[in-house]
C-alpha cells in the first residue's frame, strides 16, 4: 500500500479507505483500556455457580417426597446443585491456577487456555 500516491490536500472523507480505518482503529487500540482494566469473567461465573450450587443442593437435601416424585423419582435439585457447584469450583480453580497475566498494552500475552 506504500505505492498509494499521497494527496496531502485531499478532503478527509472522499470515501473511506482501508488506511483511514486502520489508522483510526490502531490509534484507538493503543489507547484502549479494556485489556488492562477489565475484570476476569471466570471469577463471576465461578462465584455465581458456587452460590447457585449451594442453594440448590441444600434444596435437594431438604426436598420432600412430593418434589422427588414430581421429577420422576430423581432428586434433581441435588444433582443439578452438585453439578453447578462443580462448575463454579472449576472456574475458580482455573482462575487460581492460570490467572490472566497483567497485560502490557498493546501486545497481549496469549497464555490463557482457550477452552
Amino acid at each position: 500500500m506504500t505505492d498509494h500516491p499521497e494527496h496531502p490536500d485531499r478532503p478527509r472523507h472522499p470515501g473511506w479507505s482501508e488506511e483511514d480505518v486502520q489508522r483510526q482503529v490502531t490509534e484507538l487500540q493503543e489507547k484502549s483500556e479494556t485489556a488492562a482494566r477489565l475484570f476476569d469473567i471466570r471469577r463471576i461465573i465461578g462465584g455465581l455457580f458456587v452460590v447457585y450450587g449451594v442453594i440448590v443442593t441444600i434444596a435437594g437435601i431438604t426436598d420432600d417426597d412430593a418434589a422427588i416424585d414430581k421429577a420422576e423419582g430423581v432428586n434433581i435439585n441435588l444433582w443439578t446443585g452438585l453439578g453447578m457447584l462443580l462448575l463454579g469450583l472449576f472456574f475458580l480453580a482455573w482462575l487460581k491456577l492460570r490467572p490472566a497475566a497483567p497485560a502490557p498494552p498493546p501486545v497481549e500475552p496469549g497464555d490463557e487456555p482457550s477452552e
Binding site: 482501508e18 484502549s32 483500556e33 479494556t34 485489556a35 488492562a36 482494566r37 455457580f49 443439578t80
Partner: protein, 563 residues
C-alpha cells in the same frame, strides 16, 4: 435476525408455574449479578473502541461462548423445541447443516478479511470493499432490523413471563428493558459479552435437567422414538426420511432445498454477515482468537440441538396431538410444559432464570450491535464527523438508551400488531441473503465493481421479497409450508443478487487494486501478518483443526438419524 423459524410466540395460559420464594431468590441473584457486571465493566471503557468492540482484547473462549449465546436467544430455544414438536427430528438440520458449515467458513475463510482489515462492523467492510451507497444501505437496514428484533425478543419475553409467572406484560417489558439498558450503557460490549458468557452456562443448567427428566419420563430414547413412530410415522424421528424430491413431508422441503436453501444460503447469510454475531469475533484479542471464535462456538452448537429437540419430541410424545387445538397446547409450550410438570422448586428457578437470561441476551446482542453500527457507521461517517473520541463514547451511550427505548416501543407495538411484526421479521430476514452474496462475490472476485455491491444488495433483497410475498403468498407458485417458502425465497434472492452483481460489474469501473489490499482473497493487509501470540501454535488452537473437526463431528452426528 434469527435463522427463520416464525412461530409467533403464544403460550397457553394454564402453564402458570408453581414458583415460590426459592425460585425468586435465584432469579434475584442473577439480576444483581447482571447489573454488577455492568458496573464492574464500566471502568474499562476509555475509548470508543473499548465501548463498541471491547478494545479488541478478549480471549477466544469468551468471545466464542458469547458468539453462541448471542444466537441462543429464547426465541431460538422455544422456537426450535416447537419445531421439533411439530416436524420431529428434522430440527437437526438447523444445527448440523444449517449452522456448522457456515460457522466454520466464517472462522477459516472470512475472518482473516474481517479482522485483518480492522473494520469495526460488517457494514464498514462494505464501505471499504464497495462504496458509500452499499455501506449506507446496509447500515440503515441493519439498524432497523436490530431494533425490530430486539423489540420482538422483548415482546416474546413479556408473553412468556406473563404466562409462566403472571406478571403483566408491561412490567416484564419495562424491567427487562431497564436491565439491558443499564448494563450496556455502563459497560458497553464487554458487559454484553460477559453477560452472554454467564448466560450460556445458566441456559445449560436450565436445559440439561429438563432434557434428562423428559427423557426419563418417556422411557429413554427408545421409548420416545417408539411412541413417536406409532403416532407420527417412521419419518418423524429421522433427519432425511421423506425429503426426496416430490415426496410430501411436514416440513414442505426436499433435500435439495434443505441443503441449498437452509444449509447454504440462509445459514451462510445469517452466520457470516449478521453483525450481532460477527461483532463478538471482532472483539477478540488477535486474529487467531477471532478465527477461533465461531469455531469454539461450533462445538456446543452441535450438541445444543439435543437439549431443545428432545424436550420438543418428548412433549409431542407425552401429549397426543401436542400443538393442535384439542390438546390445548401450542407448539411453543413444549419447554414450559415440561418445566411445569417435571421441575421442583429450585431447579425450576434456575430454568426460569435461564429462559429470562436468554431473552435478555437476545435483546442485548441486537442493542449492542445496533449502537455500534449507528454510531460508527451512520453518525460518525455521515452526520457528525471528526469529533474527539470521547464524544463518540458519549453518543454511543446515548444511542444505546435511544435504541432500548425504541425496542420497548417496538415491543408495545408488537403486542397490538403481532401479525405485522412477524411480517416485518420475515421481511428483514431476506436482507441477510443478498448480504452474503455481496460478501462472497466481493471477497473472491476482485473485478466486482464499486457500484455492484449496492445493486446486488438491492436486487437480491427485492427478489427474495417478491418470491415470498408475491409468488408464494399470492399462490402463484405452490410451496406447501412457510418454511419451504423461506428456503426457496432465499435461493431466489441469492441467484438474483449474484446475477445483478456480475452484470453491473461488467459495465462499471472496478475498485483500484491498491484499495483492495486485505479485502479480497489473495491479497494481504498489514493487519493479517501479525505474528501468532505465544501459545497460539498449540495443536488444539489451530483453526483448521478445530474447523474441520467440527464439520466431521456434525457429519458423524447425522449417521444415527439417517438410517
Amino acid at each position: 435476525m434469527e435463522t427463520p423459524t416464525y412461530h409467533p410466540i403464544y403460550l397457553a395460559a394454564e402453564l402458570r408455574l408453581p414458583t415460590n420464594w426459592l425460585d425468586y431468590t435465584l432469579l434475584g441473584i442473577y439480576f444483581v449479578v447482571v447489573l454488577g457486571i455492568g458496573f464492574a465493566a464500566r471502568r474499562s471503557v476509555k475509548t470508543s473502541l473499548d465501548f463498541f468492540l471491547s478494545g479488541r482484547s478478549l480471549p477466544a473462549w469468551v468471545t466464542g461462548l458469547a458468539f453462541i449465546s448471542a444466537n441462543l436467544a429464547a426465541t431460538e430455544i422455544l422456537g426450535m423445541a416447537a419445531n421439533s414438536a411439530q416436524y420431529g427430528a428434522y430440527t437437526v438440520h438447523w444445527y448440523w447443516i444449517g449452522a456448522i458449515p457456515a460457522m466454520v467458513f466464517l472462522g477459516l475463510v472470512m475472518m482473516p478479511f474481517y479482522y485483518g482489515s480492522k473494520v469495526r462492523s460488517v457494514p464498514e467492510f462494505l464501505l471499504l470493499r464497495f462504496d458509500r451507497a452499499a455501506h449506507l444501505l446496509s447500515s440503515i437496514l441493519f439498524a432497523f432490523a436490530a431494533i425490530l428484533i430486539a423489540g420482538v425478543n422483548l415482546y416474546a419475553l413479556a408473553i412468556v413471563v406473563e404466562a409462566l409467572l403472571g406478571w403483566p406484560q408491561w412490567v416484564a417489558i419495562v424491567v427487562a428493558g431497564f436491565f439491558v439498558l443499564a448494563y450496556i450503557t455502563l459497560g458497553g460490549l464487554s458487559s454484553a459479552i460477559y453477560n452472554e458468557v454467564l448466560q450460556f452456562f445458566v441456559i445449560l443448567a436450565a436445559l440439561i435437567p429438563i432434557t434428562v427428566l423428559a427423557l426419563k419420563k418417556v422411557g429413554g430414547w427408545d421409548g420416545l422414538s417408539d411412541t413417536l413412530t406409532k403416532a407420527h410415522g417412521d419419518d418423524f424421528v429421522t433427519a432425511w426420511g421423506g425429503t426426496g424430491i416430490g415426496d410430501a413431508n411436514p416440513l414442505g422441503a426436499n433435500w435439495l432445498t434443505i441443503v441449498l436453501g437452509l444449509g447454504f444460503v440462509l445459514s451462510f447469510g445469517y452466520w457470516t454477515t449478521n453483525f450481532a454475531e460477527v461483532q463478538r469475533a471482532l472483539s477478540a484479542k488477535n486474529l487467531s482468537a477471532a478465527q477461533r471464535t465461531p469455531l469454539i462456538a461450533a462445538f456446543p452448537k452441535i450438541f445444543i440441538v439435543f437439549l431443545v429437540m428432545i424436550p420438543g419430541l418428548a412433549a409431542a410424545a407425552l401429549v397426543p396431538g401436542f400443538g393442535t387445538e384439542e390438546s390445548g397446547y401450542q407448539y411453543n409450550d413444549a419447554i414450559p410444559f415440561l418445566m411445569e410438570g417435571l421441575l421442583p422448586n429450585g431447579v425450576l428457578g434456575v430454568a426460569v432464570t435461564g429462559l429470562l437470561a436468554a431473552f435478555m441476551a437476545g435483546m442485548a446482542a441486537n442493542v449492542s450491535s445496533f449502537n455500534t453500527v449507528f454510531t460508527t457507521d451512520i453518525w460518525q461517517k455521515y452526520v457528525v464527523k471528526d469529533r474527539e473520541d470521547t464524544y463518540y463514547v458519549r453518543f454511543g451511550r446515548l444511542i444505546t438508551a435511544v435504541g432500548v427505548m425504541a425496542s420497548i416501543g417496538t415491543a408495545f407495538l408488537a403486542s397490538s400488531f403481532s401479525n405485522i411484526m412477524s411480517y416485518l421479521q420475515t421481511l428483514f430476514s431476506f436482507f441477510n441473503v443478498p448480504m452474503f452474496v455481496v460478501f462472497i462475490i466481493g471477497m473472491f472476485w476482485k473485478r466486482a465493481s464499486m457500484k455492484s455491491g449496492f445493486w446486488g444488495l438491492l436486487a437480491g433483497t427485492t427478489a427474495a421479497m417478491v418470491n415470498y410475498f408475491v409468488l408464494y403468498k399470492q399462490d402463484i407458485i405452490s410451496i406447501p409450508t412457510d418454511q419451504g417458502a423461506n428456503f426457496v425465497s432465499a435461493i431466489a434472492g441469492f441467484v438474483a443478487g449474484a446475477v445483478v452483481m456480475v452484470a453491473v460489474s461488467l459495465f462499471t469501473a472496478p475498485k483500484p487494486a491498491h484499495e483492495l489490499q486485505g479485502l479480497v482473497y489473495g491479497t494481504r493487509s498489514p493487519g493479517m501478518s501479525e505474528p501468532p501470540a505465544e501459545g497460539d501454535d498449540a495443536w488444539y488452537r489451530k483453526p483448521a483443526l478445530l474447523g474441520w473437526g467440527a464439520v466431521i463431528l456434525a457429519a458423524v452426528c447425522y449417521i444415527p438419524f439417517s438410517f
